[in-house]
Subunit: 340 residues, 2 copies
DNA sequence: TAATTTAGTGTAATCGATTACAGCAAAATC
DNA sequence: GATTTTGCTGTAATCGATTACACTAAATTA
């Protein structure tokens, strides 16, 4: 029941050609006012709905975009996706989501199927393990705009929206120094990943700018797990010279560290200040709220979407390569606020 | 460059008809082994990619499904979506996401555009304000399977996957009683929303089953905000007879309550036990981890997807109306664990 | 009045893949 | 040797909307 009504049904009913119906519906100026009104009226009467598939096939535009992320239920990614959706939805685009589970092979597959379904654009945050970029270049080859966000690769012709991780690391470290900390440890993520490398660089620069010589032993890699933070603290506190602050590239590791420090009876922020990264929702809810660097994911999504729109609405031949860098925001909370 | 290769390009190159190419690619048994191999070889050589749009137009199936939720960056919803994606992706489906911002008007629009783009199915959690269901019936009229999850409406012919909110409320309350609590307050959400109503019913039943007469004053509505919990506690503690436990339908309100109670110097769980609902990520990270009812969102998504697959892969004429009810899980943590 | 412009509509091809039907050659049967 | 069957391939219509081009009648101009 409720068979789909096509322009042919309308054309038959009104005894005019389907072309005229199509033109009337598209407000083509060549159509007489009388016919247009008749067609529009009949269309609503018959409950006509445009078949966007047919239109897409003809025009080559689906009004769909794809978003590729490691996991959609990570707070950061879901917020970016929300930003993208809210910016593009008013323009008539739909957002298709894909997960890579941090696996390059999935990334390759996802790009392939997205290109197959003729999405008008792709947004992606690459998997941690991604090195080679030939799968990404495919999008370029097929003339499908691709915009990186957060985790990018340097591919000529592709735009990206990221935060200034260097600055994030710098801000966090500078803040700790301002609190009077001098022996600042750093939990970095996998240094093969650009963002973690940059955060560490920012950390080092801030130390240098303030005449502090970084201790190699104070800089250690963690993953985004609580336990990783607790064991890192254990390692650090084995030595005589203890840190008086921790800047962690992960909020989870920061939380783990805090738990372990409290366990050891160490006062936060009096004895040790702690700063995390990402501004995960839980950081502000803690009894001891954790200072963290916010990556403005919602903003990031919106801006990535805008970059895409610029590209798609600009001339087709011209490819834009835009590199947007957002400034992260430090949310200072009790875990590092000595209230000087 | 890299113009898209069609079956016509292959047919021209091999000097055979496009029909033969199509059949060869689809493993039609009528095609000779020799031709099939030749076509497949040439297809990969020429980097042929099927145009899923054309196929969709012909077959009437897009292999896209839509998911409609209030907000995608809520932990619960993004986890459900992940479940749906991971279940459907292996079957070749893509997931399109839509947000309603808890507004029925958006819901109506979203359903309309999804049906326009010919999705093969729709998953949705209705907005809080939704009463009328005519927009939902449209999907039914167009023969597009629609599966509700979590927040459903009773529409004949539509399936749903929800948790047993009654049981969730019952479990939480029973647990509090087992901890020795006798004066248990309840923070309910908007009682016009089915799930909140059911949780409250569960609460009341547990009290009744244990011979406790519910105090009307102990049951008060909150929204999902921290402040809502703090002010509710203030209200409750104005009276002489204080509660010795709180079962909150919202983790946020539970957290607000805990903060306020601590402010007032009240010991948790010794003097007052607190249980939340939803098992938001932050509940387990707190210094005083919060007991909460888990809604198994990932599971819920997977099962909703399975219900959809059953329906779509079954006979077209037969509509299945399946009502799946998942059992929630109580995660007992320090906020209510008196370690008897 | 004849020639030209203009406004409005129709015809038919197109986007790319699928498939009912037709057709033809080789193999099998009588 | 004639007929039927089998195996494989081609022709053309189809999904629904769009649009270049053609065309007709009315309006305008010469």
């Amino acid at each position: 029941m409720a068979e789909k009504v096509t322009i042919y049904d309308i054309s038959k009913k009104l005894k005019i050609s389907a072309a005229t119906v199509s033109r009337a519906l598209n407000n083509n100026p060549k159509i007489s006012e009388k016919t247009r009104e008749l067609v529009l009226k009949t269309a609503t009467e018959m409950n006509y709905k445009q078949n966007r598939l047919a239109q897409a096939l003809k025009s080559g535009r689906t009004n769909n975009v794809g978003v590729i992320v490691p996991f959609i239920n990570r707070s950061f990614f879901s917020s970016v996706i929300r930003g993208i959706e809210e910016e593009l939805s008013p323009h008539g685009y739909h957002v298709i989501i894909c997960q890579t589970h941090e696996d390059v092979n999935n990334e390759i597959k996802q790009i392939d199927t997205l290109l197959n379904t003729q999405v008008d654009g792709i947004f992606m945050s690459v998997a941690k393990t991604t090195q080679d970029t030939t799968h990404i270049q495919k999008a370029l080859a097929e003339n499908t705009p691709l915009v990186f966000f957060d985790r990018k690769k340097d591919v000529k012709g592709l735009s990206s929206v990221v935060i200034d991780d260097f600055k994030g690391g710098y801000l966090a470290t500078k803040h700790l120094i301002e609190q009077g900390c001098k022996k600042i440890a750093h939990f970095s993520g996998d240094l093969n990943v650009e963002i973690y490398k940059n955060r560490r660089q920012g950390y080092l620069k801030a130390l240098k700018d303030n005449g502090i010589t970084p201790l190699k032993r104070f800089s250690l890699p963690v993953n985004s797990k609580l336990e990783s933070g607790t064991s890192a603290v254990k390692d650090l506190w084995k030595f005589d010279e203890k840190p008086d602050a921790i800047f962690s590239s992960s909020d989870y590791a920061a939380l783990g560290a805090i738990q372990e420090l409290r366990q050891m009876g160490i006062k936060i922020p009096e004895e040790v200040c702690v700063v995390g990264f990402s501004n995960e929702p839980f950081t502000k809810y803690m009894e001891l709220p954790i200072t963290s660097v916010d990556q403005t994911p919602f903003e990031m999504g919106k801006i990535a979407a805008q970059v895409f729109l610029e590209q798609i609405e600009g001339s087709k031949t011209l490819t834009i390569e835009k590199k947007v860098v957002l400034t992260p925001e430090l949310y200072i909370r009790d875990s590092s606020n000595r209230k000087l």
